[in-house]
Symmetry: C2
Subunit: 319 residues, 2 copies
Amino acid sequence: MNILKNNDTQTDILPSWRDGHTKESILRFVERVTTEGRVGFVSPVERIAVFDNDGTLWSEKPFYFQLAFALDRVKALAVQHPDWQEQQPFKAVLADDLAGVLSGGMKALVDIIVATHAGNTTDEFEEIVSTWLSNARHPDSGRLYTEMVFQPMLELLDFLQANDFRTYIASGGGIEFMRAWVEDVYSIPPEQVIGSTIETRFEMRNSGPVLVRIPKVDFVDDHEGKPVGIHKFIGRRPILAFGNSDGDHQMFQWTAAGDGLRFIGIVHHTDPEREWAYDRDSPVGRLDKALDEAREKGWTVVDMKRDWKIVYPHEASRR
Amino acid sequence: MNILKNNDTQTDILPSWRDGHTKESILRFVERVTTEGRVGFVSPVERIAVFDNDGTLWSEKPFYFQLAFALDRVKALAVQHPDWQEQQPFKAVLADDLAGVLSGGMKALVDIIVATHAGNTTDEFEEIVSTWLSNARHPDSGRLYTEMVFQPMLELLDFLQANDFRTYIASGGGIEFMRAWVEDVYSIPPEQVIGSTIETRFEMRNSGPVLVRIPKVDFVDDHEGKPVGIHKFIGRRPILAFGNSDGDHQMFQWTAAGDGLRFIGIVHHTDPEREWAYDRDSPVGRLDKALDEAREKGWTVVDMKRDWKIVYPHEASRR
């Protein structure tokens, strides 16, 4: 394994991953595709790796962190929208009635996203997200959301980047929401972030040109949308895909169907002590059909409880 | 200037550009943004350069080469569409009546593009474009279309790439049409191609998953669409933009409005002998408002006749 490159000054590769089948399967794949002259070698330009974000690189419970942002934005914007006091789903948000919000189904969520993610310029929106992330706290852990990223996955991103992979995010979350912080946290530059978008419009103002965010959904990068978005943005088929839910299933299938060696990884949330445990019955991050196909096809399923020495960076002293 | 890097084995930088103000302005800009410690230095990750394609990197007369492809496809597909014999704009295409096609305006062109660019998988479409480009000949020059790229612009791309710029295409043309050949011709990888798109749909077939091209326009990457597409795909503002028409005007404005040094370049078609001469009155590649703003703001206008020793690669012996 000494041919593998490691960005870290530590000599250990993937130090937060316990030795065993899962870690071995990752190391073996990277060794194969990076060993020149060996069957399975992949040239650096083709080393495309795609990662889902929510539930794969950071936690997603009790609900998507971007939804927490949106709910906080409803409260911040309520003074400008007196009608929201009587209008669902906003009324439920303002009353902290999450069950009431969710009872409105997908339509309620889209109404909330659109109302809270549009109406400003792209520069203003980035600033709003950054400010929120510097202050907002997770309701259970009390930590910053950006502290709730998975240390083993940070090490995996780092390890792949050191081996000339280009690591992309392919997330159902909003591109602009993610771009505000993923470069700092994951070392993934903005041009390697694929996600859902609302429309933007070019406007020439007295102060100069701006891009204005319009309250209209442009593209939903989830389920069937993931391979569509990956193909549109990258134009190459990934050789590695990592996700955690049925929303990633078509991305897995698209990636696995390419010629040559492919790696499909699934983060299985099995750890109610350190994180959460959920799969087939969870409304957020449901993992059902993709788990069946993973077992059938021999894809790598990460057992969070068994395979990870620590979950979050702040536990590093316990590793 | 000896700090500037040149990919070429030739010692001369930009050998097909005549010495003078235009070449100087390019060299001076690249020197400034790449000289560490100097005011104006730009870190390599922020060195984003965007190039229009039609009329900027290759010719676009007598009409866009992608339209030539579409017209040939109408003829190839006509046997499957007997109704086209009596249905406009297809009837006009089949009768080689270009004036008749153009009399249908934008709607006729969209009908032709949609009919000829959809209905197959992304893999099939790439194959169709590649085959066409290997065989089709330009009506005036008799050359392959990919031989009608501008040698001075190839040198500029090469020079910027050697100085750690990431060179993107931002074209009104179709992403998938361009991706089939631009990596070979311009050394621009598929993930650095931004353009217009039709919708695609993920489908699971017995043979495996495919992406099917749907006869529906998804995004038009022209005029106001260019900064929108650039922001969506890259998420950073370019520091250099090169184009040739009013379709690039908003891209110029968006690029120029960033902080720090910016370079805006316009290819002005002034050479009726070696290429074509056109600007304010041309239906294809009209250059009017952007030319006025270029003069007002001091953007760099390339005078093709004066500034380029040769236009196409096949003239290289004449340089």
